[in-house]
């Protein structure tokens, strides 16, 4: 538990430093995360390894405790902010080294609905997990989603609704994807307070995600499946 002795990050060996980073992400300590990312890079770590072993793994632990009702939104926001600090250092390096992508998602609240806290949380947690995310904002007609998906930049579509009156619009979007013959090219995740699994199935989504942590886990599962299929095919 907490001892008062000060921790000098640069004096920790790699293994301890990574574990300390998991703790510091959990505690939302942005400056410490930035410092540790730089230390690992100086020690010759690949940017992709820093991302996956230190940051993404740390956020995975945050996600589990958020899902289990141990951490709440304020703590998760601080953790995501710390992650973002580390990510800002890694991003240009990741692009330079041609590191593999974890996946990309386009997300938006559906037409008629102006709620955005839940969607913003999913965006932050997905980014925290190393996904690229494009946020379409609130009140999106079907055209916005289709236009984004047609760019070919995305693997996953995320839709959010907080109103019982707007959630049926998700089906309009999915039906349009089916009409255009593009439904099977994407994983569709849906979420929002009034939704449930039954509703997700009824409208033809791949999964209903109860909260942002579940969204991340589900997205990872689907991406793993997709990679396996590509490897097999």
């Amino acid at each position: 538990m907490s001892d008062e002795e000060e921790i000098i990050l640069s004096e920790l060996n790699d293994e301890d430093l990574v574990l300390q980073m998991h703790d510091d992400l959990y505690d939302g300590m942005k400056e410490e995360i930035e410092e540790a990312v730089n230390i690992l890079l100086e020690r010759g770590w690949q940017p992709y390894d820093v991302l996956t072993k230190a940051l993404v793994e740390g956020m995975r632990i945050v996600g589990i405790d958020f899902r289990d009702g141990i951490l709440f939104v304020p703590e998760v926001l601080l953790a995501a902010g710390a992650m973002k600090g580390g990510m800002a250092i890694l991003k240009p390096l990741l692009a330079e080294t041609g590191a593999p992508r974890l996946g990309a998602m386009v997300i938006g609240t559906v037409k008629g609905d102006i709620h955005d806290i839940g969607k913003n949380l999913v965006t932050m947690m997905m980014e925290g997990a190393g996904f690229e995310v494009k946020d379409l904002g609130i009140n999106n007609p079907v055209e916005n989603y289709i236009e984004a998906l047609e760019t070919g930049e995305f693997d996953i579509l995320g839709m959010s609704a907080l109103l019982t009156t707007t959630m049926p619009y998700m089906k309009v979007v999915i039906d349009t994807m089916v009409e255009k013959g593009m439904r099977d090219d994407f994983t569709v995740l849906v979420g929002g307070a009034p939704l449930n699994e039954e509703f997700g199935k009824a409208i033809g989504a791949d999964a209903y995600c109860r909260d942002a942590a579940v969204a991340v886990e589900t997205a990872k599962e689907f991406m793993a499946k997709k990679h396996n299929q590509m490897a097999a095919g």
Binding site: D68, G112, D113, I114, D116, I117, T165, E198
Partner: protein
């Protein structure tokens, strides 16, 4: 005015032992033709007849108190419809219509000026400052008071910082107020506040509400667990209980709340037994539910507080095993090496 209203509510609680609040605003307005995405507050001006009908529906069903159609009437929410300058005006009209309905009634009816959340995140990782939130709430509060609201009614709050900002804003007006939070995440608010935590927070406020409690959230069972938590937490002020009429279900392209009037009647009686003094519904609660609730409250004697098992048996199970007040449930993990 303040003491007069306090007396009105206190008198009602004294003579009846309880006060019946209203039900859903959104569900009722959608049934009246409100389109998704359309701000309900615009209807105060465009369709005052429908807002009158909304309030009248609650009064005729036996509510002693109803909330004005101004939940999203703060500058931050109205901004999404390019109407951020209209917070005072639209809130004022919502209360004026309410005043008219209340004054026409033969019973004493309390007009409660609804103030919903800003929708912004406050606190350490947030984007909205305390000062800005106070300004927004104050602007809306002034509008509601100008329109004739007897009491201001802050609802569906998740963050203690936002509740405190509303308190500071209303302190400027000197008007009486009540405020509820929404406990929808493992028995806590989205920001992690427990029922016991709210009791302490309310006690520590400089300008305290005359009543406090819970609204919306998950289902009627969870809400009653929260009410029991308030009592357990040492609440001294009247407790408000406004639960949803069951859980929304998707049937043939439409949404139905599965809570029947009979279930809400049981909920009302259990809420009172649990210690709530001001009892109403939230999403999905229609006049027929309110009627059943009134009847049940009038025809049933106050009983002992229910156990959690009794609540689950009557209204259905809970959304989480623990609500964070009993020391049960999952724990925060051990830090490997924390920073002092």
């Amino acid at each position: 005015m303040d003491t007069q209203v306090t007396d009105k509510l206190t008198k009602l609680i004294e003579t009846q032992g309880w006060v019946l609040a209203d039900g859903a605003t959104g569900t009722n307005l959608f049934n009246a033709g409100l389109q998704a995405g359309e701000p309900p507050e615009f209807w105060n001006e465009e369709h005052p007849d429908r807002i009158t009908a909304l309030y009248q529906g609650a009064v005729d069903a036996g509510s002693d108190l109803f909330l004005t159609n101004s939940f999203g009437g703060n500058a931050s929410r109205l901004k999404l419809h390019n109407a951020e300058k209209r917070a005072h005006e639209l809130s004022k009209i919502s209360a004026e219509i309410g005043r008219e309905v209340a004054d026409k009634s033969s019973r004493d009816i309390i007009v409660a000026g609804s103030m919903g959340p800003t929708g912004e995140i406050m606190g350490a990782a947030g984007t909205l400052s305390h000062e800005d939130a106070v300004e927004m709430f104050h602007e809306q509060a002034e509008g509601l008071i100008a329109g004739g609201a007897d009491v201001l009614w802050v609802e569906t709050i998740s963050a203690p910082e936002e509740y405190a900002a509303a308190a500071d804003a209303i302190a400027r007006t000197g008007h009486p107020w009540a405020g509820t939070m929404s406990f929808d995440t493992a028995g806590r608010t989205m920001m992690g506040t427990t029922s016991a935590g709210m009791v302490k927070m309310v006690d520590d406020l400089g300008y305290a509400p005359m009543a406090f409690g819970a609204n919306c959230g998950v289902g009627a069972s969870d809400l009653l667990r929260t009410v029991l938590g308030f009592v357990e937490g040492g609440a001294t002020k009247p407790i408000i209980s406004k639960g949803n009429a069951g859980i929304p279900k998707y049937v043939d392209g439409h949404i139905h709340y599965d809570g029947t009037p009979e279930l809400m009647a049981q909920y009302a009686v259990l809420a009172r037994n649990s210690g709530a003094k001001i009892i109403g519904g939230c999403c999905g609660t229609m006049p027929n539910h309110l009627r059943a609730m009134r009847k049940a409250l009038e025809e049933t004697l106050v009983g002992a507080p229910p156990t959690l098992d009794e609540i689950a048996a009557a209204l259905g199970g809970f959304s989480s095993e623990s609500d964070g007040t009993d020391g049960g449930g999952p724990k925060r993990r051990e830090r490997r090496r924390g920073r002092g």
